[in-house]
Amino acid sequence: MTTATPAASTASVRTTRDFDKPLWRRLLLTRETAIVALLLFVVIVSAVTVKGFAQPITVNYLLLDIAPILLIALPMTLVMITGEIDLSVGSMVGLASVVTGVAVEAGMPFEAAALLALFVGVVGGAVNGFLVTVVGLPSLAVTIGTLALFRGLAVGLLGTTAVTDFPEAWTALAKAKIAGTTIPYITVPFLILLAIFAIVLHFTPFGRGIYAIGLSKDAARFSGVHVERTKFILFVVAGLVSAFAGIYYTLRFGSARGDNATGLELQVIAAVVLGGVSVFGGRGQLYGVVAAALLIGTLSSALRLANVTSDVINIITGVLLVLSVVAASVLAWLQKARTRPARPPHPAAVTAP
């Protein structure tokens, strides 16, 4: 974050220069394409080399496992394009899960309990949004606070106990496959949400305003974008989708616990950043993020099938994350060095692993 100014300026320089290049280069030589290509590469290599990976059942477990990450990555992408961040999503998943559990235990029908959990998600998101937009606090600090707060409420409400009796019909639905395929039903709401988010982000004034805010808040305000309102709505949506993911999480594992989905926020952010969303805001595409989430999930399931300990995936996630951002700045530096050869090379940038 020290480097906000130089990086922002190189980014804006690059976007204008993008139009100098031929169309195929602009379309193909992007972060998103690289991630999609890497995803295809990993899928093909694992299908050939890892025994059992090519089976349909792999797809089933893969999608079931990463559904919460995929779901939350959608609003997180939008939040991060505005230059903000929401670290409280993992805790909101836990809180929504606990609220569902407690309400069902208190005798409420499951449907009402789920609605209550969604409402809690909206309220939690509104708290984040209020503190960030109205009080004017940095979202990193606010959501570290609400990360602790929501998790604390979740753990406080249930303690170490767990609620496990949910209606059979619903828990079965969470794991059910679409007839004739091995694709779980959770992909249906995900695809609907994906379509909505993609249309809103890429094809509406509201969505273009999100990019404008990330590139320059002041310029966006002067050109008539409701900066505060947009951010507030995005935080509320992030809370709502997290709560939905929390209900799914509860049903998938059939248990509501205070520590459900601990650390999920980091996985979501890892997927979003790997997918090409700039942490400074203003840059990113939904399909890159979806590909990145699938990439992390595919790698981890392929490695698990290849009997590599599942912990190696932590290292790979971390290294991918670091490489993806470092590679971008090394490339930008190389480009600059090529166009301005007078400048002596900066040796450190090359040696940085």
């Binding site: 940095p138 205070g258 912990d311 670091v322 940085a352």
Partner: protein, 343 residues
Amino acid sequence: MSFASTTRIPVSGLTKHIGALGKAREFGILVALALVVTAATAKNPAFLFSPDGWRDLLLTPSILVLVAVGQAFVIITRNVDLSVGSVMGLSAYLTGRLFIDVPGIPIPVVVVLAVLFGAVLGLINGALVAFARVPAMVITLGTLYAYRGINVMWAGSSRVNASDMPREFLALGTGQILWIPVLSIVAVLVLAAAAWYMRNTRGGREYYAIGSDPAAAELYGLAVTRRVLTAFILSGALAGLAGVFYAARYGSVSSQAGAGWELDAVGAAVIGGVAITGGVGTVWGAAIGAVLLMTINRALPILGIPDFWQRAVVGVLIIGAIVLDRWLAVRQRQRLIEARDES
């Protein structure tokens, strides 16, 4: 605030110092800490007045104090180090492994090696952030995973137990000099050195300058890259030292040691008045914030609140602290504007 002193009636040095103390942001946190301790002691005198209670009061926070001081360095330069929990866990495990793999290794050597190891991990973070010019949050999020993964790969499901470490080393974790635990003394010494450096030296002030406005600091000719690098190395080294403390204090180190500490460390710094946007706050504040966090953790069960609610209280504290900071900043700005308009 030197601008005020020209218009005000001169006051004696002592009064001014006491006045400044009352106005300092850290003072509020100190009062909150005193309130928590008083309330817990009123409910159960053993919280403060029993040897065990006294020892725990000083000993438990000292590990987080170290990590929070390192974190404060980094946050003051407008970066953040999310990998401290993983660095701490990795150095704690290294400490244990050194005792197992090199029988008879002297304790000071282990301490130095663990601190150096932490510094190297911090150097990796810092080099990536400072040279590649990418946001610290992403880099340290990546190394958080990577370091933890290395730890898990190295340790597997095995753990270092108290029986693997020499008795003298474990005695460090519980030992006391004049009723004060050794670890707390070390933590306070580190804290005092860090606070002196940040307050009184040119180098220390440069961290604030960089955090207040990185671009201006660069234009002014400050060695931004080197300072940011140093901040990360210091944060890593302190997390390494905290890892040694962790091994000495708890005697058992698994591959998950220190998981989640990064948020406690950032939380402690924020509660203590270190602004996440950089350039504001002191290491004292971060340290007091750390003590407050850990003390609340222990005080809640005594006050009759199940400790499940501890995290919720921490969350409220963090939000309260940043709202307070914001309010103070707004008031300060209004006052400056008034002062300008009057003159």
